[in-house]
């Protein structure tokens, strides 16, 4: 346990101050990403079921108002799903640039050494060179690792929002049918969407029963 920490300490020392910034960015980035996944897996189904329960408690209303309320609920859910994606993408875009900054400062360090002791001392220049190269690699690695997950989160968020919209619309149509109000074209659309979101619908119901 001690040796990895010592290795990491040496690595951070070799990378210079910019590497600390990159580490900080990586921590924030991964915090946001993990929070997003948590939200997708645990929080979103709970929110969706809560919205469904609230809507089922509501008395049947006029159809136009019901649709507007539906759109509002879906929009809120979508907002919750894609909340910090912009921040995540910003951090990912900043990582390679931070690495570039580290390169430049490291090279300045190297040139300082050259100006002080000439080119005949490669051992003295090595510190500056590692200060130049390690932050570049760190920035690239952090950005790459975050990039994959950010794309998946974005797509997953969109999909979840669409599914939530379908589920809620289907619920609404079910309620309307029970209330005896029926519209043909909306029924056709709800059937289409019901087929698409059947799998998710069962999942939602199962979580509610838990």
């Amino acid at each position: 346990m001690i040796e990895p920490i010592l290795n990491l300490q040496r690595f951070l020392d070799a990378g210079g101050p910019v590497l600390w910034v990159i580490l900080l960015v990586a921590v924030v980035l991964w915090t946001l990403i993990i929070e997003r996944y948590w939200h997708h897996w645990r929080v979103f189904p709970r929110e969706l079921s809560a919205v469904r329960a609230r809507r089922s408690r509501l008395p049947p209303q006029e159809r136009r108002i019901a649709r507007m309320l539906l759109r509002k609920d879906v929009s809120e859910l979508r907002q919750g799903l894609t909340r910090s994606l912009t921040a995540i993408r910003t951090l990912i875009a900043a990582c390679p640039l931070l690495g570039l900054l580290g390169t430049v400062t490291g090279m300045i360090h190297v040139f300082d050494v050259i100006g002080f002791s000439g080119t005949g001392n490669p051992r003295a220049m090595a510190a500056g060179v590692s200060m130049a190269t390690i932050p570049t690699m760190a920035g690239l690695v952090v950005a790459l690792s975050g990039f994959v997950f950010s794309i998946r989160l974005q797509r997953g968020g969109e999909a979840h929002a669409r599914e939530a919209e379908d589920v809620l619309k289907r619920d609404m149509l079910e309620g309307e049918r029970k209330a005896g109000v029926r519209s043909q074209e909306s029924g056709v659309r709800s059937q289409e969407s019901g087929v698409r979101s059947k799998k998710h619908l069962t999942a939602v119901i199962s979580t509610v029963e838990q």
């Binding site: 990586a26 921590v27 991964w30 946001l32 993990i34």
Partner: protein, 215 residues
């Protein structure tokens, strides 16, 4: 679960993820280093075969050339005054007297005064010590070739002490390397004029100027 707890747990997990990423990077970087260390510990192969018979280096002896003979310096010649030449005696002729009458028609004419005897330069008798002396410069060519020599010059000391009619009598070496310089230098020297009967007269003198490389 409310939002702060969610973010707190996410922060811990994110920290772990970031540290894991950095450890991965460190592993990527330092694996090459370990390879270098392992390579450094291996013994280096020897490219030079040491089991050969050692060859004795024979040193070639070479006769040293004899040192060149030392150049004997040419003895410096003293400037000596030429000895006074004996005055030439008129040869005694025993001629028969011509007896012819002298009372010619022109006897009454006044005789022209005999022309004064030309005052040719007499020999210089004093010691040849110049009053003022221009040192001769060693010719560059002679100095480069390491030639030394001397020039004997004959000249006339004017009544005012200056020098004229300088001519080279003898020189060593004969190429005339030093002649021009010796003549040039001597022409600017000044001597005490030769005194004869309380009057300064021109006098012929001879001098030897030695060009000697020192050192």
């Amino acid at each position: 679960m409310n939002t702060p707890v969610r973010f707190g747990v996410s922060l811990v997990l994110g920290l772990l993820a970031a540290v894991g990423l950095f450890l991965l990077m460190n592993f990527l970087v330092s694996r090459g280093e370990a390879g270098i260390e392992a390579q450094r510990r291996e013994p280096l192969p020897q490219f030079i075969r040491m089991d050969d018979q050692e060859q004795i280096v024979r040193r070639r002896e070479r006769e040293k050339p004899e040192p060149p003979e030392e150049i004997k310096p040419i003895p410096r010649l003293e400037a000596v005054a030429t000895p006074k030449q004996p005055t030439p005696q008129p040869p005694a002729f025993d001629l028969p007297r011509f007896d012819f009458p002298t009372d010619l028609a022109l006897a009454g004419l006044p005789l022209a005064a005999p022309p004064p005897a030309p005052t040719g330069p007499v020999a210089y008798t004093q010691s040849l010590t110049p009053i003022s002396q221009v040192p001769p410069q060693y010719p560059v060519r002679a100095r480069r070739q390491g030639i030394s020599g001397w020039v004997r010059l004959e000249f006339v000391v004017n009544p005012d002490g200056s020098v004229r009619d300088v001519s080279v009598v003898e020189a060593e070496p004969r190429e005339g390397i030093f002649d021009q310089e010796a003549v040039r230098a001597l022409s600017r020297w000044r001597f005490h004029p030769q005194m004869q009967d309380g009057k300064a007269v021109p006098a012929i003198a001879t001098i030897t100027i030695v060009f000697n490389l020192e050192g």
